[in-house]
């Protein structure tokens, strides 16, 4: 059974159709990259996965359970807040603009989920948070407030915050797009190492080189549809799809 499954997913904002029927699966341990032009629906798709955006039609399944909604007869009704909360916890998210909470230290940012949502005792959550910070190489910044960290460090804390939830999958929404070029690699290296540890990752990215080197599967989105999907070798090499080729060529020249 796939870990994540997206079935016939549509999302529109008024007359604007952003997603026009997406089907895909993510297997446990798989690293999946979403690529595509701005406005192709990559981020919206990612945000539908953890129900941050409510799909107009179609469903997302996590471990065989529909995310955010549940069947009542033949209708779909919203799940109780608590259920959704648990599902979201299993699909931690890392944001383009980090979104660290400025009034909490690095450690508190990372502990917040385990303590508030999972109700884990503080001492245990603290150990878990410190381990997550160590994992991203920022244990010594535990007591620092986010405003005193560089962008790359803030994003690594964002990753630690996701890790501390012990999620089934981590969703990355353009994790390096807001970073200065010299800070991109420290973040990509952390993401790469998570993949090597077998954590399931879904990554929306503009870093083509990274997608080619790290992902098991790359999905090319074009105008709200999956235009092409396959191994990096397929997407960045052998594909016959003219739009994929045009898009990829833009990056690699």
């Amino acid at each position: 059974m796939p870990l994540l499954e997206v079935r016939d997913l549509h999302k529109s904002y008024g007359a604007l159709d952003v997603l026009k029927g997406i089907d895909l699966t993510v297997d446990p341990g798989e690293i999946v990259g979403f690529i595509g032009a701005s406005g192709s629906g990559k981020s919206t798709l990612l945000r539908c996965m953890n129900h941050m955006e409510v799909p107009t039609k179609g469903i997302v399944m996590l471990e065989g359970e529909i995310v955010g909604v549940t069947h009542k007869g033949d209708r779909l009704v919203p799940r109780p807040a608590r259920d959704l909360s648990q599902q979201r916890r299993k699909m931690a998210m890392v944001f383009q603009h980090f979104n660290l909470w400025p009034h909490k230290t690095t450690l508190e940012n990372v502990m917040e989920g385990p303590v508030t949502v999972q109700k884990i005792p503080k001492a245990e959550a603290r150990d878990r948070a410190l381990a997550a910070l160590k994992r991203v190489g920022l244990k010594e910044k535990a007591d620092t407030y986010p405003s005193r960290l560089s962008g790359g460090q803030q994003q690594r804390v964002g990753i630690a915050r996701a890790l501390a939830l012990q999620p089934q999958v981590i969703l990355f929404d353009e994790p390096t797009s807001a970073l200065d070029p010299e800070l991109v690699n420290e973040v990509l290296n952390v993401i790469r190492s998570l993949g090597e540890d077998g954590i399931t990752l879904v990554i929306v990215t503009h870093e083509m080189r990274f997608a080619r080197e790290v992902c098991d599967k790359v999905i090319f989105l074009d105008e709200g549809r999956v235009a092409d999907m396959g191994s990096p070798d397929h997407i960045f090499g052998t594909t016959e799809n003219p739009r994929t080729r045009a898009f990829v060529q833009n990056y690699f020249g």
Partner: protein, 223 residues
């Protein structure tokens, strides 16, 4: 022009003036508590999705803010008994009128503060699995508090000064008593100066405290 200052008169009436100050502070204290609560309720309800709530409350806030507070006070003191037969004493009337008036301002301060919080902060909360209540309690509330604090203190100072209107319905607050004494002693300049000094020594320390707290926030989180 020659004027023979006589501040001894202020000392003679010091107990009366201090009693007036006590009344002023009490009036302001009760008003601030009541209007903060009412303001929070207004701020929360205005953004609710219940139909009609938004137009009704936003009209209420706009109208109350537009009416001069003295008119509101006099109206409640003289007209409300005629219309409803309900007669309240001056102190209660002033407290209620000022609370309603100030609540309209507080509610805007609170609402603005809450809405100014970056959407990303809220999404980060949701992404770790927080419910709406948890997001408000852990993230939006504390962050909004820092933004709200300076205008909140400012509004509290205005409440303190607005209490001087209570004299119009014969509540013995500081300015009212100062004027009563000056009528009796023909020393308005000395007494009004004393009233001003008492207001200054009450309000300025509050301002300094507020600035200190604000600076502490800033140094702790944003430096």
């Amino acid at each position: 022009m020659e004027y023979d200052w006589n501040f001894a008169i202020v000392w003679d009436y010091r107990m009366v003036l201090l009693r007036g100050l006590g009344q002023t502070v009490l009036l302001a204290g009760i008003t601030i508590v009541l209007s903060t609560i009412l303001g929070l309720v207004l701020a929360t309800l205005r953004d609710s999705r219940i139909p009609l709530v938004y137009p009704v409350l936003s009209t209420f806030v706009s109208v109350v803010r537009a009416v001069p507070v003295l008119v509101l006070l006099v109206w409640m003191y003289y007209c409300l008994p005629i219309l409803t037969g309900l007669k309240m004493n001056g102190f209660t009337t002033v407290t209620i009128a000022l609370s309603i008036y100030s609540a309209a301002f507080y509610s805007e301060i609170f609402r603005g503060g809450i809405r100014s919080i970056d959407r990303g902060m809220i999404e980060a909360g949701q992404s770790v699995g927080m419910t709406r209540g948890q997001v408000f309690q852990r993230i939006v509330g504390p962050l909004a508090f820092q933004r709200i604090f300076p205008p909140f203190v400012n509004q509290c100072i205005l409440v303190l000064k607005n209490t001087t209107l209570a004299g119009y319905v014969a509540v013995p607050e500081l300015l009212y008593l100062g004027q009563q004494i000056s009528v009796r002693t023909f020393r308005p300049l000395e007494l009004l100066t004393a009233v001003a000094v008492l207001f200054i020594v009450t309000i300025v320390p509050l301002t300094l405290l507020a600035e200190h707290i604000e600076k502490t926030f800033h140094n702790k989180y944003y430096r």
